[in-house]
Every structure is written in C-alpha cells, then in structure tokens.
C-alpha cells in the first residue's frame, strides 16, 4: 500500500493507482474530459492536471500513479486557471450550439465548462466547418463537435478490433475519420455504437427515426406494432432518472401503450422462439457432428464483424435470425393473419439497446413477410425522448402486461440481454430436446458475468457439451482465432457451441443505451435481468404457451420449411476495405 495525501487528506492506495482514483478515495473528484473509466487514459485533454509537491510542472492525474509520500494538490489557483484556459481552448474549436445538440444536458464538455466556471471565452471560433457524416444508417458523426479525445478510436480499435475510425491529418487540422474519409456507411464499421456511448460530446449519435415513428403513430390508416428488446426493460428507467438497472417491464408496456402504439408486443417472445429454432439447430449439428461449433447470430454488430473479418466461419453460424427480425417476419404474416389486419398497413417498430439493429432491419434480405419486416428501430434514448415529449414519465406508469399473441415470454428470453444469456437459455431447452427431461437447476452460473471469455462444460444426460461465451468483438476475435487454429491443426474445435455478443456486457451494454454508461452500470443491468428471470413463473423457452401455439397453428415445428422461410437467413462475405458485400466468386 502507498501512503500519500490529497489536499492534506491522508489516503492509502494500491501501487499503480492513478492520482485520479486516489483522489476519489479522499473525496475529491478531479475534473476530466478525455478520461473514461473503462478505457486506458490517453492524456489528450490535460484537464485533470494536479500539482505534486517537489515535482516541477503539472501532472496528469489520470495517467500518473500515486507515489509513496506524494503530497498532491488538486485545485490550486494555478491549476484552476490552467483548467479554465484548456476548456476555453477546447471551446475555441467546438460548435457550442448546445441548445440544439442531441447531447444537451448529457454532454461532458458542457458539464465541465460549468464546473470550471467558464462564463466568457476569449478565443474566437476558429477553423472551417466540416461536413457531417450521414453515410451510415445507424450512426451520425459530426466532426464539428468532436474534441479528439480519442475514446471512439480506442473502443473501436482496442475493445472491438473493428478499426473503422482513425486519426487523420495533424495539428489543428487533425480529424477523426474513416479509411479514405469515405464515411462510416462505407467503412468496416459494424454499427455497434460503442463509439456513440463512449463519446463525451455530441459528435456521435444514432441516426434518429423518431420523426418517422411519430408520423406512423399519428396516421389513422396504420396499425403500429412495437417490440422491445430484453435489455430495454432494465435501461429505460435510467432515461427518467431511476437508479441504474431498474426493471421497468410493466411500466414500459404502459408507457408505450399511452404513446399510441396499437399493439405492445415483445421481442422477448421471439427470443424464446429463437431458442426453439437455434436449439433444434444445435441438436442437429451435435447429432451430425458437422459445422461445430455452432455460433449464435442474435447480434447484428457481431454478424457484420463476422462477415468482414471471419467469413470463413459462415458455415458455423446459426442460420436463425435475430429475435428482432423473427418478430418482424411474424408480425406481418402470422400476427396479421390471426388478427385480420392488412399486413401492408402494419408499421413494425422495435425498441432496441442497439444501433446495429438499424442496420440489420434494412438489410435487403430481411423481407420474408413480403414487406420490410421491421420498419423502424429506435434506441432506448430515442424512445425516452419521445415519451418525454409526450409528457410520459416511466416512473409514474402502472405495470401493464404486453398484448397477445406475440407478447408472452419466459425467464430464458429476458436474460438474452446479458452476455451468456442466450447460451444459458439454449442449454435449458436443449437439455429437454435431447433428453426429454427438464433441467432441474436452470441457472448456469459459469456463463454469467463480465469476464472476457467464459467457458463451461454441460452434461446433457451423459453427452458433454463444451460451450464458450464472448462479449465484445475483441474477445470474439480472440476466441474465433483459437477455434480456427484448433480446426486447422486438430480437425475440430474443443467447443460445440459459442455465444457471441458484439458489445461488452452484451445488449445491456449496447450502443443504444442511456448516456454516461460504464461497465459497472452494464453489470448492474445484467443482474436486473437475472432478477426478472428468477421472478417469472416460466423460465424455459419451450414452456412459452404462445410459442407452442405458434408452432401448432402456423409453423408446424422448429426448423420446418415455413420456419426456415420466415425465421432463418444467410450471410455474406464483406470487404475489409469498405465493409461492402463482396460479389460471389
């Protein structure tokens, strides 16, 4: 332990602790801008500088480890003046149109300017305005707001290993951009939105669909259905000031109904359905021994990543569509048929913790119903904005159930939102499919939690199945490299089933979550999903009565021809240069 003082408060800290964290222990929050708790400090902004007695100059608290006997001062007149100067310099090259900015009230620079007490600034806005990058269907990039903190690059390159963004030019002309300055939509970007949730300012945000959804809601000719992803129910409360991870399933249904949706349905319903399809696929593969390991396909960021960097693994991918797209295909077929609604009049909206879902829903092959299966995808942030505009407060809502016939769900579906959840749900049902018996202890703890790659061996009535779970594309890359290596060298992999989620923490850490998130919050949301699982009467997907009814009335059985037509898909090889589909050779 190292002993030091921060503003005369004595502290003890582990060796290697930064002054920034040591100061927190002493009760002092040193202002920062480029620093993010989940990323390595880059030292770009210089806001967190402190004085250390006996050491000349100022030191960055974020990247200076506290040393034995350090006497640190965090807010001397010199430091405070320096911070103001730095913030003024940042503002000299930043569009300060805060009132009309998507990040108004959620902007770390705005908060910082207020904390350090900027009320005038001396330096004129310099530099030319740069074009806003709207080339992506998921993410908008406004370089005029960018403060070059580098968080987006770090998460894109180091955490996700996507490498869509990089620094270009130098000095005052420095910009963050994509390869060839071609725009995110013409890059290897997988639309995961981790850049968005790590951006401290309004330089990165989702491409909004709220106007289109408002229009549909106000169109009397349209029948607007809505589905909500598992993770949304543990995020939406945060948009209304509730504690992180508050579970608001019932309140969410109520608020959506009041917003004017004609039917409030559930992505969780199709999550259960996914298990039936994917679980059956798993049994087939285990029986035939072909194309193992089977790899999950729920995460559209992961899908584009796989298509770009691991398309040799396409035969291993589950052909099951994601729950969002299964829902879309059923809403305009089965649902329309049962409810007697013209599918042409149905507008299908989904609420997602995700930006990649916006990309997924417009993939040209996603039209199994004969229409675009899902019309609009809204992030948790967007639906939060719409509810606030309509004067709805989720906190104040009663608990209401979803509507039938695509509304029921089990505990297995709700844990899809956390990393390892799909795996756990699949095992619960696969056990039954293989053995005809129910798995007594449904909680598979080794696949839960936030370690990078999780492994487990499941005993299905004598058959040992080795599974692995990766969250974040960086971890997926590591795992897949290992699998490919094993297949090349030994002819087969040690794993039979792999779950991959593109985002760290799974969907609870998606690019569509509330602003100001970090790994601790992601973990908290995951725990809430497991709480809901525990609280539900049914915890196995194959017990969902509406799913069973769907098979009985419409699809016949899992992996039937009709199920294949509506619920399964195929994948493409993509270029590592621009992310576009490569022509079949």
């Amino acid at each position: 332990m190292i002993k030091a003082t921060i503003n005369n408060v004595e502290i003890e800290a582990l060796e290697g602790t930064s002054i920034l964290w040591a100061a927190k222990k002493a009760g002092f929050t040193i202002p920062t801008l480029c620093n993010h708790p989940d990323l390595k400090p880059g030292g770009q902004c210089g806001i967190c500088v402190v004085e250390i007695e006996g050491i000349p100059g100022l030191k960055r608290a974020c990247m200076t480890p506290v040393g034995e006997g350090f006497k640190v001062k965090t807010h001397t007149p010199r430091i405070m003046a320096t911070r103001r100067q730095l913030v003024e310099l940042i503002l000299s090259n930043h569009d300060t149109d805060c009132l009309t900015c998507v990040k108004n009230n959620n902007c770390e620079l705005q908060q910082l300017a207020s904390i350090v007490g900027i009320n005038v600034h001396d330096y004129s806005r310099s530099g030319e305005r740069l074009p806003i990058d709207r080339s992506s269907v998921s993410i908008v990039r406004d370089p005029n707001k960018c403060i070059l903190c580098g968080r987006c690059i770090q998460v894109c390159s180091n955490v996700q290993t996507v490498d869509a963004l990089a620094v270009n030019h130098r000095g005052f002309d420095t910009v963050i951009t994509t390869a060839f300055d071609a725009g995110l939509g013409n890059s290897v970007c997988i639309n995961c939105g981790q850049c968005v949730v790590h951006c401290p300012v309004g330089a990165l945000y989702e491409k909004s669909a709220t106007e289109e959804v408002w229009e549909a809601l106000h169109d009397p000719d349209k029948f607007v259905v809505v589905q909500e992803a598992p993770a949304v129910r543990v995020m939406l409360g945060e948009e209304f000031g509730m504690p992180t991870g508050s579970l608001v399933s019932g309140k969410m249904h109520a608020a959506l109904r009041r917003l004017g949706f004609d039917a409030v349905l559930e992505t969780n319903f199709t999550a259960d359905l996914t298990i039936m399809e994917e679980g059956t696929e798993l049994i087939d593969r285990l029986t035939s021994g072909r194309n193992l390991p089977l790899i999950t396909s729920c995460s559209p960021g992961w899908i584009k990543f796989m298509e770009t960097y691991f398309h040799d693994m396409i035969p291993h991918m589950s052909t099951a569509k994601s729950p969002q797209q299964m829902f879309g295909a059923l809403a305009k077929t089965y649902y329309a048929e049962v409810k007697g609604i013209d599918p042409g009049k149905i507008v299908s909206v989904s609420i997602m913790p995700c930006t990649a879902k916006k990309f997924e829903c417009q993939r040209p092959e996603m039209n199994a119903s004969g229409y675009r299966d899902v019309d609009y995808v809204l992030t948790t942030r967007e639906i939060g904005r719409m509810m606030r505009e309509a004067g709805l407060d989720v906190k104040e809502m009663p608990d209401e159930p979803p509507d039938d016939i695509l509304g029921d769900y089990t505990g297995a579906a709700t844990i899809f939102g956390a990393t390892g959840g799909v795996m756990e749900a699949a095992v619960r049902s696969a056990y039954r499919l293989v053995t005809g018996k129910e798995l007594e202890n449904v909680e598979i703890k080794p696949v839960r939690g936030l370690q990078g790659i999780k492994e487990a061996e499941i005993d299905i009535d004598g058959t040992r199945v080795k599974v692995a779970v990766a969250h974040s594309c960086g971890q997926a890359r590591k795992l897949l490299n290992k699998v490919q290596d094993q297949i090349t060298k030994e002819g087969k992999s040690e794993y039979q089933f792999i779950e991959v989620m593109a985002c760290p923490g799974g969907c609870v850490g998606g690019g569509g979550q509330s602003w100001g998130s970090n790994m601790a919050k992601r973990a908290r949301r995951g725990e809430s999903l497991y709480e809901e699982d525990r609280s539900l009467p049914l915890r196995r997907s194959h017990e969902n009565p509406s799913v069973l009814a769907l098979y009985e009335k419409f699809l016949e059985k899992p992996n039937s021809e009709k199920a294949h037509k509506l619920l399964h898909t195929h994948y493409y090889k993509r270029s590592t240069v621009d992310g576009k589909i490569k022509p079949a050779s």
Partner: protein, 529 residues
C-alpha cells in the same frame, strides 16, 4: 603503386551536390586524365568540410588549400595552373576558412590537432570507404570493448566520460544504457534518432554524410553495452545521401564481419537497418519515433514507462541521437579521461553547432562545451555579415530560446545555459543582425509549431492555432497589449500541460523574446489610449 603527389578532396554532401559537385568532380578527373596526370593526382570524395553556402568546395593537399564556388569550367585552370605548375588559382581561394579544430578556450597541455571529436574525420576521409575509417583508428573502440572492457566496462567508461545526450534533453547516456541493460525483456533494441528536423539544424546530416562508420561503431558499442542484437537508424527521409552512404557503410561493415553474427569471434552479434521517416517533426520525439517505427501514426506515448524499459514493440530500447553515438567510439578508443580534457567539468566534451543566419560564414562547427556565444559567432562564423551589429540569436532550434547581446559572453553548455533559462537544444544557432524583426521571427517559429503539432493533445493542437492568430494580428499592426499577455498565458498553459516536449517548449521562444526584446514587441501593438 603510384606515388601520388597531390590529393584533391572534393566535398560531397547534400549542399554541394545541389551546387554541382558531381559535375565538378567529373570535370576535374577528365581534365587530370587529359593532361596525363592520372597517376600523380588523386581526386577523393569526402563529406562536408563544414562550410555551407559556398558552392562546391575542394581542398588540395598537401598544401591544405581550400577553393570555394568551383564550377566545371574552373577545372582546367585548377589542373593546369595549380596541379601542374604549382600556382594556386587566387580568384577561387576560400577567404573565410572553416576552422578544422575545435575552438578552444584557454587550456593547457592538450593536443590542438586532435581537438575535433565528432567531426574528426568529416571532410578528411572518404566516407564511402571503410578502410579510410579504419586507417583513422576506426573500429578500435569496439575492439577495446571486446577485449578489455566488456559490456559493463563500456557503460563505466561512458559514465566516467560524463557524456550526455546531444539531442537536446541532455540525459546522461550511461544511465540510459545502464537502465536498458538491467531492464528485463528480450530482445533489446538500439535506435539511432537521425530524424533531424529542428529548423536550422543539419549537424547529424553532415556526420552521417561525412563519417557514417562512426555512427555504426557507436551503435555497435551501445548494443554491446546493453545486450541488444538489433539496431535501427530512423532517419529523415529527405536525407538521400546520408541514407545512401549509411547503407553502403553497413554493407561494407557486414563484408568485413563487423556487423552480423559473432562479430570478430566475440560472441556478440549485431546488425542494423535503416528506416526512413516521413517528415513529421514530432517523430524526433523518441516515443513518437518508436510508434512510427512500429508502423503507427507518430504520436508520443505517455512516460513512464520510458523506452529503456518498454520501447520498441514493448522491449527495452535505447534511443540516442546521432551526435551522441558519434562521440562513443572516440571515448571508448581514447578513454574517459581523454574525453574529460574537453569542455567543462560539469559538461565535458564538445558540441556540434550549425550556425546560420546573418553571419559571414554559416556552417558546421564543433566547439568545446563552455565556449562563449561570442567566440562561436566571431571566431568561427566570421562575425556578422556586412559589418552589421549583432542583435541576438535563436539558440537550440525553433524550440530554443532567444539570446540578446548581454548573453554573448555566456558559456555555452547544457548546465550553464539552464541558469539563463536557455537551452543548447539541437545546437542550432540562428544569428540575427540589427535589421531583424523580432515579431517576424516569432511569427515563423509559431507557424512552424502550428504546422508540426501532431494534434494529440488539446494544449498544443489548439494553443498553437490561437498563438498563430495572435502573432499574425500583432505582425499586421492590429495587436493589442492583451494579445501579448495572451501569448504568454497560452504558452504557459502549453508548457505545463502539453503531452510532449513539442508543445511544452514553445513558451521558451515567447518568454525569451520578451525578456530581451520587450520594448520592440510592445512597440508593435496598439498603445492603450
């Protein structure tokens, strides 16, 4: 074997090549052949003799007579009159002679003719011939290291010599080597920083062009001392001749078994690769250089960890400047005590300066540590051009400090200059005469920094932009007193919070310009009513 009675040395460096040295060389050889003197007169290529701006320079030995601004048309006259008849061509004789020895302050008992250390062979030997380097005692240092000193002894000798880095930061070389030798990690690397980018500095180029084997031997010694088997020379891409000569020298050294496996059966293996930089000033900063060498964008890294523990590809790495490494073979060959005979007690050795601006003979000079600015300007560089008055000098490059006339008698060395808030830096001395506009000088310095800021950190990226806008305003006559205050304020924030030395050092030219030329700067802004 022919008995050669005259040697004609022609200085082939980037400057003289541009002035037409290759054509002059060919004309001389042709003329010598035509007049049937081929066996008697030898034309030899050499590196820079130190003078710049004097066109093609040749030296005729044994007279040691220098000709400047020689053209191919002069060849027949030189051969016929001087080399055949013994009558020097007066109109071509160089009037301002470069000094071959270091400028010595009064000190007794040491050999004056041995005074040049780093530049001892430059302009004397043929840099493209390893035999000439060996004939001048080359590679004796590595031999002594292998047979007598062993790695620990090399570090001790360098420690005893008091050698500090010549790139600007003046860090103790032996300490750097010691850290790297003790740092866990394998392999280890030696990097020579030859990315000479400081405006007005070309000392490394002339060392590389004039005596490339000295650098190779220096790097071998460094590698031997720290246990590295691989060295990289990260060199400014524009230094075409330096690269060519280095690569030739490396090939020759390999041929002689001086690079490669088990050198001279010592058990020590070492090899070198030359890597070209792409022109970013910030890549002269050692961690940005390492990033660039790894194939990444040249952004500085956070320190610690320092390169000696985590450098190239995360391995222990020594990064030394060309001039630092060029000192090493001489120290090892002649011993630390010999080296300490030069310079001051606190700062032994010599410093190579490039002296430019309004002086009579700009060029390269090697002077002992502790030589005064006055001696450098008036003894070596021939004083101020056209008899004008000395106004000041910008010493240490663009990131250096201005010095006014009151600093003429300051002793120039790393330790002493610190007391005056000045730096030796890269050893560039830009001399200004009385007609120089100080605001114009500041303007060019600040524009340079804005252009070369890498953009990584806020203070440097945005500070340089504001500084340029302000200094342009002052230069355009629209400045206010507050603008001068802003220059100081912003540059102080940059000094305190910039991520690397590039942004940190900009306060120096600003504060020193105000220290020595305060009235002039304040005279350029609108006076408060």
């Amino acid at each position: 074997m022919n008995l050669v009675r005259n040697h004609v040395l022609i200085s082939i460096d980037a400057g003289t090549i541009m002035a037409g040295a290759r054509a002059v060389e060919k004309a001389l050889v042709d003329e010598i052949n035509r007049q049937g003197l081929a066996g008697e007169i030898a034309v030899l290529e050499t590196g820079s003799i130190g003078a710049t701006g004097q066109g093609v320079v040749i030296v005729v030995y044994p007279e040691g007579l220098y000709y400047a601004n020689v053209t191919p048309e002069d060849a027949s006259e030189i051969v016929e009159e001087h080399l055949l008849k013994g009558r020097p061509v007066k109109r071509l004789i160089m009037t301002e002679m470069p000094r071959q020895q270091v400028i010595r302050k009064e000190k007794t008992g040491l050999l004056k003719e041995q005074a040049r250390i780093v530049l001892r062979n430059s302009g004397v030997i043929n840099p493209e011939n390893i035999d000439e380097y060996i004939a001048e005692g080359g590679y004796e240092g590595i031999e002594r290291a292998f047979t007598e000193l062993k790695p620990a002894g090399v570090i001790k000798e360098i420690k005893d010599s008091g050698l500090v880095g010549r790139g600007g930061a003046a860090f103790t070389t032996a300490m750097k080597w010691d850290f790297a030798s003790k740092a866990p990690g394998d392999p280890k690397y030696i990097i020579c920083n030859a990315d000479e980018g400081e405006p007005g500095t070309f000392k490394d180029r002339l060392i590389l062009e004039g005596d490339p084997h000295k650098l190779i031997e220096g790097m071998m010694l460094a590698g031997y001392a720290v246990g590295a088997a691989k060295g990289f020379i990260y060199i400014r891409g524009e230094y075409a001749l330096s690269i060519e000569r280095l690569e030739k020298a490396i090939t020759q050294a390999r041929l002689y078994g001086l690079l490669g496996e088990n050198i001279l059966e010592s058990g020590f293996s070492f090899d070198l690769a030359v890597m070209k930089g792409a022109g970013a000033y910030v890549c002269g900063e050692e961690t940005a250089l390492i990033e660039s060498l790894e194939g990444k964008r040249g952004h500085p890294r956070n320190k610690p960890p320092y390169p000696v523990t985590e450098g190239l590809w995360g391995k222990p790495t020594v990064v030394n400047n060309v001039e630092t490494l060029a000192n090493v073979p001489e120290i090892i060959r002649n011993g630390a005590a010999w080296y300490r005979g030069y310079g001051t007690d606190k700062c032994p050795g010599t410093k190579v300066y490039t002296i430019i601006g309004n002086v009579a003979t700009p060029g390269l000079i090697e002077a002992e540590m502790g030589t005064t600015l006055r001696d450098i300007i008036y003894e070596y560089a021939g004083g101020i051009k056209e008899g004008k008055k000395f106004k000041g000098a910008l010493v240490g490059g663009a990131a250096g400090a201005f010095m006014g006339p009151e600093m003429l008698d300051a002793k120039m060395d790393f330790v002493n200059l610190k007391e005056y808030a000045a730096v030796l830096g890269s050893g560039a001395i830009l001399v200004m005469d009385e007609s120089t506009d100080i605001v114009g000088m500041l303007q060019s310095v600040l524009h340079f920094f804005k252009h070369e800021s890498c953009g990584h950190c806020v203070p440097c990226r945005l500070g340089t932009k504001q500084l340029v806008e302000i200094v342009d305003r002052i230069a355009g006559g629209k400045g206010k007193v507050e603008d001068i205050e802003s220059l100081v304020k912003i540059s102080e924030v940059m000094r305190d919070t910039s991520f690397c030395p590039l942004g940190q050092s900009l306060n120096l030219p600003i504060s020193s310009s105000l220290k020595y030329f305060r009235d002039e700067v304040y005279g350029r802004v609108q006076q408060p009513a």
